[in-house]
Symmetry: C2
C-alpha cells in the first residue's frame, strides 16, 4: 500500500476536472450489446450527459451515430475524463496516449490487475507510474464506473440514474454500490457522486474522503469499505471531515467469514484493516451492518434538520403502530416523554373523547387535515421534544384509491364524479400535509420523520419547491426509529465529542 | 379477563362456520362512501366472495345493486357470519336478532366498548353474554375485520386482497395488521386467515391459536400481541402448537414507552402480560422486534424446506455482496464453511481462473445459465452445507431491461429484433433458474434463499406449478440471513427442544 505517496500527491491531482468533466472519451467503445464498451457508452449517451462524448476504437467508424476515433490522440479538442474498457495488456499504451493528449482523469474499468495475480500486480504498478508521470487521476482499475449526476454523467454497467443531490457514495464493491444506487434512484435520493473505487491503485478511500470534504455538492458521505490501508490515518481524516459532513460506513469483513470473503474479493487483509466498531464510534462515524441502512441514513441526514436531543413525539394513525414505534425508540436509546396537560388539552380539542391522551398521540383515524398538522406542531413547539415520528398520514391515499376502486366495481350505479372528487381531495390532502410538515421543520428546526401507511413506488423522499427540508416517509416504523437514533447519536458526537451510547 | 370461561367453551363454538362462511350479512350496510358499512360491503363484493351477501339497513332498499333487509330476521335462508357496523348502543338488540336467526359468527367492527370507558365495558360484558347464550362466536368488538382468502372473503377497511395460502395472522392491532396484509399482498404471501382480534371480549389469542392448530389451511402462524391474559396458559398452548406449526410473535409493549402506549391502546397491563423474550424462546417461539420481519419469516417458513443445521453456502454475483452476507451469517450464529477441493474443482470448470475459489462462490458476472445452477447444486449436494443463499441471479433481467432501453435510446440504428431477443432470453433465463432451484430444493430437501439483484414490484415469492417449494427472493441480503437464522433456530428447537443460541 502506497498511501503516503498517493497522499502527498493528492493535492496536485486534477480531481475537479475528473469529477466535473466537460468531455469524455470511451476507449474501447463497442457496438456490441453487453460488452463493457457498449454498456458504458450507451449509458452515458442515454443518460443525457451534457458534455462531449468521443468513442475510441481502432476497428469501427460509427457507434451509436457518433464518429469513432482510432486513437485518443485523434480527437479534436480536450478530453477531461477517459473511460477505458480494453484488455489489461493494452492499457499501458492507451494511458501513455491519454497522458500525451492531456487527459485529466482515467476511469479504468478493465480488470485483471492486482486482484487477479502477480503479473497483474506488476502491471498495476506500471500503470500507476504512467498516470503519476502524466499527472492523471486514476480511478480503479477493476472499477464498475462512476456516476456524477451534477454533470448528468452516468457511467456504470447498471443503468441506474439517480437524481442529483448531496449524497456521495464511495464503494469498494462495484456490485454492492451499483445495487444501492439503483435503490437510491427508486427512493428518490439525490446523489452528488458515486465511485466504484475498484483496486484503489492510486486513489484510495482516504483520498476520496479528502476530496469530498471540499466538494461543494456533497453534504453526506457513504462508504462501503473492506480495507482502508492505514487505519489510523483513515480515522484521523474521517474524524475531522465527519464534523462537517456526516460519514456513514458499512465495513465488510467484520467477522471471520466476512473477512475470508473480503480477502478473496479485494485482497484485503483483516489484520491490516480491522478497525473496530468502537474505533469508528470514537471518530463519530455512524456504522451500519447492512447495506440498505446506508441509504436510510443518507435520507435522514440529507433531508431533515438534525435533532438536538433524544426525546421523541410519536403521532400515529392507529394504536399498534404507535406501540411498536415506542418500543423501538426505547430499545434504541430514545425517550418517549409523557406530555404536559396543556398539549393534551390542545390536541384533545380535535379528537374524540376516548383518544390516547398521551404520547404516542393516536389520531384514531381522523380525516381532518388540520388534526395531524396540529398534533405535529404542538409536539414540535414543546421544548420537551426534539423530534417527531409521524406514522401514516402519507400513504393513506393509496388505501383510498383501493376503496374507490372497490366502490366502482361493486356498484355500477356508483357516483363516478363524486368518487373522482374524493380521489382528488385525498391526493391533495397528502400534498398539503407534506408541504405543512416541511414548513414546520423549518420553523422549529426539528425533524419530522414520516412512515408511509402503504408501501408505494413513490419513493421515500417528497420534495417541496423552495423548502429547506424535505418530506421523508420511510416504509416501516423501524427504519424511522433507526435513522432518528443514528442522527441523535451523530448530534451528540458533534456537541460532546462523544457518541451517544445507543 | 375470562380466559378460563372462553377456554372451556372453545370447543363448543362454531369456529368452522365462522371461518368458512357460506353466507354473510352486513348489519349497518351503507351506500355512503367511507362509512364502515360501505367499506366492508364493497370490499366483500369487489373481492369476489363466493357465498351469498345480505346487506341489512332499516332505511335503505338497494345498496350496490343488492336488495337490503330491514332486519337480519328478514333474510331468506341461513347466515353464517354477520359483520356489524352499527353504533354500540344498538349492538345488543342486533345480536339478539342474530341469535334467533341462527347466525354462527359475529365480526363486531363497532368500537366504544371496553376500550372506551366503564359504560363500554359493561356493554361489552352484556354482548358477550348474549353471544354465549346463542352459541355465537364473537370476533371483536373494535376489530378492523377479517380476511379469509380461501373463501375469497375480504372484509376489512383496507382493501388489500392477499392470495390464498398457508399463513395465518392474528393481530391485536387492526391498523398494524391491515398494513402488513397490504405488504403481504404486494410480496405475494399466501394467507389462510387474517383476524383483527380487537378487544378479544370472547375469543382471545389463545383461542385463535387453538383453532389454527387444527385448521387444515394454516401451516405458519403470525401473532401481533400486546397482552395475552394468562401468560402461562399462552406459553403452554404455544409450545405445543409451535411443534406442528411455527409461531412467530411480535410483542408490543416490551419497553416502558411501548408498555405505556399499549396500556392506552388495548388497555393491556404490563404486569399481567409481560412475557419475556426468554420465555418465548423457551416455548420455541420465534420473536420479532419489527413488523416487517413477521412477513419475512412467514415467507421462509411457508415456502422453503427447513434447514437441518446452520452451515451456509453463499453464491454471489459480485464480491462485496458476498462479504456482507458472510458477515451477516457469522453475526447471526450461522457458519460459512470452507469448501472441499472437489467442489472447488467442479465449480471452477465453469469460471475464469481468477474466481474466488471458496465460499462465498463469486460467479464473477457469468451469463451462462448453467453456472449458478451448478454452483447451487454442488453446494446442496455436499453434506457440509445445510442451506444456500444465492445473491442476484434473479433481478438481473431488470438490469438487462434498463440496458436495452439505453441501447435503443442512444442508437437509432440499434437492431431492435436482436434486442427483443435478448430481452426474451434474459427473462426466460430467470424463469428457468427459478424452476431449477425449486427442483433442487425438492431433491436435496435444503433451502435455497434468494436475494434479488434489483428491487422490483414482482414480489418476494415466485411460484412454479407442481413444485413443493417456492422460489424466494428477498430484497436485501440481511433479510435472507435473518430469516435463515430464524429457521435454523426453530429447527434446533424442534430437534433438541432448546432454541439455537442466536
Amino acid at each position: 500500500m502506497e498511501i503516503s505517496q498517493s497522499q502527498t500527491e493528492f493535492q496536485g491531482l486534477p480531481f475537479k476536472s475528473a469529477f466535473r468533466p466537460e468531455s469524455v472519451a470511451v476507449i474501447g467503445a463497442s457496438p456490441t450489446f453487453l460488452k463493457w464498451g457498449h454498456m458504458i457508452l450507451t449509458n452515458i449517451l442515454a443518460g443525457g450527459y451534457e458534455g462531449r462524448v468521443f468513442p475510441v476504437n481502432q476497428k469501427e467508424d460509427l457507434i451509436c451515430g457518433l464518429s469513432v476515433y482510432k486513437e485518443i490522440g485523434d480527437i479534436p479538442g480536450a478530453v477531461d475524463l477517459a473511460f477505458i474498457t480494453i484488455p489489461a495488456g493494452k492499457v499501458a499504451a492507451a494511458l501513455e496516449q491519454c497522458g500525451r493528449k492531456g487527459v485529466k482523469g482515467i476511469v479504468l474499468i478493465t480488470s485483471g490487475f492486482s486482484e487477479a495475480d502477480d503479473e497483474g500486480r506488476r502491471l498495476e504498478e506500471r500503470i500507476v507510474k504512467i498516470c503519476r508521470q502524466w499527472n492523471m487521476l486514476l480511478i480503479g482499475p477493476n472499477t464498475m464506473g462512476v456516476i456524477l449526476p451534477h454533470s448528468k454523467l452516468f457511467a456504470t454497467a447498471t443503468h441506474a440514474r439517480p437524481r442529483k443531490g448531496s449524497v456521495a457514495f464511495i464503494s469498494q464493491s462495484g456490485n454492492l454500490g451499483n445495487q444501492l444506487i439503483l435503490w437510491a434512484q427508486q427512493q428518490g435520493i439525490g446523489i452528488s457522486a458515486f465511485v466504484g473505487s475498484g483496486n484503489e491503485a492510486m486513489i484510495n478511500c482516504i483520498d476520496y474522503l479528502e476530496y469530498l470534504e471540499k466538494d461543494p455538492y456533497t453534504r453526506t458521505i457513504l462508504l462501503y469499505i473492506e480495507s482502508v490501508g492505514d487505519g489510523r490515518k483513515f480515522l484521523e481524516a474521517a474524524r475531522r471531515i465527519n464534523r462537517k459532513k456526516p460519514i456513514i460506513v458499512l465495513k465488510g469483513g467484520r467477522t471471520e467469514a466476512g473477512n475470508n470473503a473480503a480477502a478473496s474479493h479485494t485482497g484485503s487483509l483483516g489484520g491490516e484493516a480491522n478497525i473496530t466498531e468502537a474505533a469508528f464510534r470514537q471518530a463519530g462515524i455512524l456504522t451500519s451492518k447492512v447495506p440498505s441502512e446506508l441509504l436510510d441514513f443518507s435520507i435522514g441526514f440529507s433531508c431533515l434538520p438534525l435533532p438536538r436531543g433524544n426525546r421523541v413525539g410519536i403521532v400515529t394513525l392507529g394504536g399498534g403502530w404507535g406501540v411498536v414505534t415506542a418500543d423501538g425508540c426505547n430499545e434504541k436509546g430514545l425517550v418517549v416523554p409523557r406530555l404536559p396537560e396543556h398539549i393534551i388539552a390542545t390536541i384533545g380539542k380535535y379528537l374524540p373523547s376516548f383518544w390516547s391522551r398521551g404520547n404516542p398521540v393516536d389520531l384514531v383515524g381522523t380525516r381532518d387535515i388540520e388534526v395531524p398538522v396540529v398534533a405535529v406542531e404542538e409536539l414540535l413547539k414543546w421544548e420537551g421534544i426534539d423530534a417527531v415520528i409521524c406514522l401514516g398520514i402519507v400513504g393513506r391515499h393509496e388505501l383510498v384509491r383501493l376503496m374507490i376502486d372497490s366502490a366502482r366495481r361493486s356498484d355500477e350505479r356508483a357516483d363516478s364524479k363524486f368518487l373522482n372528487q374524493v380521489e382528488s381531495i385525498s391526493s391533495g390532502f397528502e400534498n398539503d400535509y407534506i408541504e405543512r410538515v416541511t414548513e414546520l421543520m423549518e420553523k422549529y428546526e426539528k425533524p419530522v420523520i414520516g412512515v408511509s401507511l402503504a408501501r408505494s413506488d413513490k419513493g421515500t423522499i417528497s420534495r417541496v419547491e423552495g423548502k429547506r427540508y424535505k418530506g421523508v416517509f420511510y416504509q416501516t416504523p423501524e427504519d424511522a426509529v433507526n435513522v432518528l437514533a443514528g442522527m441523535v447519536g451523530y448530534n451528540s458526537f458533534l456537541r460532546k465529542r462523544s457518541f451517544y451510547p445507543l
